[in-house]
Symmetry: C2
């Protein structure tokens, strides 16, 4: 079972990396770019048959290690 | 229109960050974790009405700036 955990900065938290990407894209000739937010994604292979158990485990991992809940939010997606 | 660009290391490219996350998760009591791959995700707000045009633009951005095609692959998802 595979779990994909996506971690983004919460809305309202300044994102200098996203800002820099946006400015670089403008400079490269993409004027249509508005706000840019940068985050990370972690793909986990889990030795787990039950999708619900895999989701619970991945959420615990996100809370304990992968995301800083003060400034970040996360989403867990379970892939067969 | 929003575009979400996910950039991952290609299969076969060593991923020390993913390795470190996997080892940390084992240490935190998640023995079910197998391979871990770490990547980045960039959410772009685009001033663009047409989903197809938005996809083409986001793919160009990924090729020009967001992904290093030598070692990384990317996926573009268009969100309404």
């Amino acid at each position: 079972m595979r779990a994909v955990v996506t971690v983004m900065l919460k809305d309202g938290v300044l994102d200098p990396q996203g800002k820099a990407i946006g400015q670089a894209l403008h400079g490269l000739g993409f004027p249509q770019v508005g706000e840019v937010r940068a985050g990370k994604v972690i793909e986990l292979t889990l030795d787990e048959r039950d999708p619900q158990a895999a989701r619970v485990a991945a959420e615990q991992m996100a809370k304990k290690l992968l995301a800083n809940s003060v400034i970040e939010r996360f989403e867990v997606e379970i892939v067969a």
